[in-house]
């Protein structure tokens, strides 16, 4: 037999296998940059994170400093790139600081609602029985009430402020996670590889932690990324209606609330914060969509 034949008959040897972990990260990025929507989302997210971390140091003016002599200046005047508001505060600076509020609210709400919802979903889906019935009844009841209204009613009752808006959003948002995780766990429980674990003699506890949890990671990360956008918009809506984050603390939503009275005279008050919300929500959604397409090929095209 020739050497050529030897080669053909044997599988490729174990080169490259060692660098697997690194190459996987590399692959994700290569994949990301192949999709321009994903790349755009990624860039927006990096930008948002940058602004919200370094915000206080990069604002051109003090976002809280009111100068009535300079109120309602249009954009590009007097060193105010995006103009000033009715109290003469710099809009760009307020938007930069407001970004942090949106990011904190989006991320923290997802973490809190996601954690709570995941725990409920797992308990419900894995242990079934009466506890599942009770928990899912609660979820049904909550889902039978529009999300944004629920957040509004809760926030109106418990009061405004950053902490309370996060609590209200988390109370409104956990059910989505609970329901998704539960159905995911139910589907996993029926998978043959879980049956195979039972047949091997793996304990129920280990099945949950070693086999079910790792498989929940992908759907959870996808849902979380898509929910951040929902929460950012919800917070803006609630703040716009006069609840949520209270002035003078700048948030995109309450800037719009204050600006709406000047809609006939000063268009810039309502335009720029709105665009900021759109860009943020767009970035997170695009990235979330890309994540789903990449991590969960089953759902592709959705």
């Amino acid at each position: 037999m020739s050497a050529n034949l030897e080669k053909a008959l044997h599988n490729k040897p174990a080169v490259e296998v060692k660098n697997k972990k690194e190459s996987r990260v590399y692959n994700y990025f290569a994949n990301l940059f192949r999709s321009w929507t994903g790349t755009l989302g990624f860039i927006i997210i990096i930008g948002l994170l940058f602004i919200s971390i370094f915000g206080p140091w990069i604002t051109p003016h003090d976002p809280l400093y009111a100068d009535f002599s300079k109120k309602l200046l249009p954009p590009m005047t007097d060193g105010h790139l995006l103009g000033t508001d009715q109290l003469g505060r710099d809009i760009l600076s307020r938007m930069i600081v407001g970004a942090r509020v949106s990011v904190i609210i989006g991320v923290l709400t997802v973490v809190i609602a996601g954690t709570f919802g995941t725990i409920v979903g797992i308990i419900s889906g894995y242990f079934r029985g009466w506890i599942d019935v009770v928990l899912m009844r609660i979820v049904d009841v909550q889902l039978s009430f529009p999300f944004i209204l629920l957040v509004l009613v809760i926030n109106a009752i418990i009061g405004g402020g950053l902490r309370n808006i996060i609590i209200s959003l988390a109370i409104g948002g956990w059910v989505i996670f609970a329901r998704m995780i539960r159905s995911e766990v139910l589907a996993l429980r029926e998978k043959e590889f879980i049956t195979a674990c039972v047949a091997t003699g793996v304990s129920r506890f280990e099945i949950l932690f070693r086999h079910i949890l790792p498989n929940l990671f992908t759907p959870l990360i996808i849902l979380a990324s898509l929910q951040i956008g929902t929460f950012i918009i919800a917070e803006a809506s609630v703040s716009f209606l006069g609840f949520g984050v209270q002035p003078p603390e700048p948030a995109w939503g309450n800037m719009l609330n204050e600006g709406k009275d000047y809609i006939f005279s000063s268009w810039w008050l309502i335009t720029f914060p709105g665009i900021a919300i759109i860009i943020a929500a767009l970035g997170v959604n695009l990235f979330g969509d890309w994540l789903r397409d990449t991590l969960d090929p089953e759902l592709k095209g959705d």
């Binding site: 944004i148 009613v153 209606l241 719009l256 709406k260 268009w267 709105g274 759109i278 860009i279």
Partner: protein
């Protein structure tokens, strides 16, 4: 079928009951509303008197059972402000909200379903790009902001449409567009994805193999199949539409339930809040119930058993 209807009705009652219970306790735990109606330096006796009058001094469980007993008879008490019947106030606002929600729903279905179908069928074409663009952008635009921008252009600049208020069809135009945008985005997305899913199915290949041309294949065959998931998703999303209606009503000063609810929340006029919660939960439950029946109608696997 009867079995199914009874089961669903029980569920509706349970949902409304639990929603009311939750909001009732949330309100009571958040503090005593009497203080709001009296000057800050009101004497103690006056506060007590007022609490007595409104029943806030009694034990919580008694207040709750009383409230429920009355609520069952349709009595949610009187508005703390205007002393009018709370439920009646809410019901009076119902037609305006319905008008807005239904026009917006119709508008979004009329635009979204054809767009979604086209987008899925001509995948990666210009239609698809437009469809996906609308989907992505529409979901990122907060509807209150869209409302403001529309007011700015059509009312403030062009002066061709009113900024707000209700009454005529002209008043309906901007709120409808505002409210429908998000739904158009969502429904286009549902339609597209469920259509894409259906077009991959074996039975579509079978129909092609027996010579069915493209247009009936998509419009008759695949659409009927994809209606099943679309109905479910649309029904689930009507909650978002209702929620959006509240915000839209506020932006355009539309005299519907949403605006009433907002004002009552601001004023802590809790009988009205409870009555509004009751009505909204009830409407939403009924919508879902109708969706289930529709679902059974288009899906023979449920209908014929």
């Amino acid at each position: 079928m009867l079995d199914f209807i009874i089961k669903r009705l029980l569920q509706v009652i349970l949902v409304v009951f639990l929603a009311l219970t939750a909001v009732f306790f949330l309100i009571r735990l958040s503090g005593d509303p009497t203080a709001l109606f009296l000057p800050p330096d009101a004497p103690r006796e006056q506060i007590e008197e007022y609490r007595e009058l409104l029943g806030f001094n009694r034990p919580m469980h008694e207040q709750y059972t009383d409230f429920m007993a009355n609520a069952v008879q349709g009595d949610f008490g009187q508005s703390l402000r205007s002393q009018e019947d709370a439920l009646q106030l809410v019901i009076d606002r119902l037609p305006a909200t319905f008008q807005l929600a239904i026009t917006a729903l119709i508008l979004s279905l009329v635009i979204a379903i054809p767009l979604g179908v086209l987008s899925a069928y001509k995948r990666n074409s210009i239609f698809d790009r437009i469809g996906v663009g609308i989907t992505v952008l529409g979901q990122a635009v907060p509807n209150f902001w869209l409302g403001l921008i529309l007011i700015f252009f059509f009312a403030a600049q062009l002066k061709i449409l009113p900024t707000g208020g209700g009454g005529t069809w002209v008043h309906l135009i901007l709120p409808t567009i505002t409210l429908a945008t998000y739904s158009i985005a969502r429904f286009t997305r549902f339609t597209r994805s469920s259509m894409l899913d259906i077009l991959r199915k074996d039975y579509i290949r079978t129909a092609k193999a027996s010579g069915v041309p493209t247009i009936p294949l998509v419009s008759r065959y695949a659409l009927k199949n994809s209606l099943i998931p679309i109905i479910t998703l649309v029904a689930l999303d009507l909650g978002t539409l209702l929620g959006g209606a509240v915000i839209t009503e506020v932006v355009f000063a539309w005299p519907g339930i949403g605006r009433l609810l907002m004002q009552s929340l601001m004023n802590r006029d809790f009988p009205i809040v409870l009555a509004a919660v009751f009505i909204i939960a009830l409407i939403y439950a009924i919508i879902n119930f109708i969706a289930d029946i529709l679902y059974a109608y288009v899906n023979p696997q449920i209908r014929v058993k």
